[in-house]
Symmetry: C2
Subunit: 247 residues, 2 copies
Amino acid sequence: MAQSVLLTGAAGRVGDAILGGLAHEHEWRFLDRDPPTEEYPGEFVVADVTDETSVRDAMDGIDVVIHLAGDPRPEAPWDSVLTNNIDGTRTIYEAAVDADVEKVAFASSNHAVGAFETDERTPGLYRVHDEFRLDGTELPRPGNLYGVSKAAGETLGRYYHDEYGISVVNVRIGNLTKGHPPIDYERGQAMWLSYRDCAHLFDRCIEADYEYEIVYGISDNDRKYYSIDRAREALGYEPQDNSAEHD
Amino acid sequence: MAQSVLLTGAAGRVGDAILGGLAHEHEWRFLDRDPPTEEYPGEFVVADVTDETSVRDAMDGIDVVIHLAGDPRPEAPWDSVLTNNIDGTRTIYEAAVDADVEKVAFASSNHAVGAFETDERTPGLYRVHDEFRLDGTELPRPGNLYGVSKAAGETLGRYYHDEYGISVVNVRIGNLTKGHPPIDYERGQAMWLSYRDCAHLFDRCIEADYEYEIVYGISDNDRKYYSIDRAREALGYEPQDNSAEHD
């Protein structure tokens, strides 16, 4: 069933992948702080996620929010992630709850758990026969302050779910690249997410029934240290790509 | 061995309990945004934890930081916990790392996991024969935005530990009351922390060797749904009190 979906941070790479697959599948509204440089298949609101009034206006009549907006730089300074990622995500949840939105899919990140990649574990971790897996039940171990902000966003979602009943899925997005996986970069191949698997995964976030979930967003790569079992079980995610097939 | 300890938020209740037991055990420096209203056994710096320069000055020559400062109200509004608890804790960690502080003990809270107390689990959860236990390995489930801020502080500690090697212990403090446990309040009795157990627990945070820990700070109550096993194992915590003995 077509849903009314608000996509924040629409102009970024994840937004591009999602629209590449789902432009005609749902009724879209977009929010980005920069004006659009191309055609979008729906209303485009130019506003910052920290602008509470604009966010509330953009939430009107929306069933599902895909919240991608925020400072996407792993090396982003603290003040920026505090404002854009932590405070901005709280603004989204407040507005979503008040607008009776059913579901929020939050773009979390592999950086929320980047410090599991210790010197002892790498590079073995990135290779096919290594059996270490993160499955989303582990406590965060951010590799940078950007990762701290994403873990904080996941915890905000937990609170808004428990307190207000809104469905929340946190997608710890791996390494999203168009066309083919990163070349000569084992880590990137292990956490590759293809564009079509990305679109399909967020389609499942729009369509599936769930309470509160943390899932990893990667393709079905032979190399992997993130489990995609929970994405399969909770969302019905069925990835089609595998970085090994592009070697 | 006497350590040089900076106690932030010194004028609060947890600071009162700690100093009641440990005033003469360590070399103390205090930081609070309000001027002292009584004698303190060491230098007292009047500064806000968000004042980076003052925090850096207060950190000079310090071995261990006990970071209690922050908005302590479970019902505190978001803007206050974002600034005082999340941003303030980040300021403490930055200054601690730069000053080569060895350990930070962070006053986390039962509110970081308050939403585990669902309608289905309570009030059974608060009673002696209920076997449900939280042990610190579970993902946070904050019951309020204050709890979200405490969970974020724990994640900040994880990052600063992994990135800079500083030892970090997060103490999810229960219900600290002086003299006797809360009366006619099962939940409070289940998470009671006596003043002397509180002082002893933070003494162990100063003295013990650890990497990164999340422990529950409660007395050895017959009623409990927080495990104190990890506090015993990682810190050598040996509580002397039990809310059942005050019935």
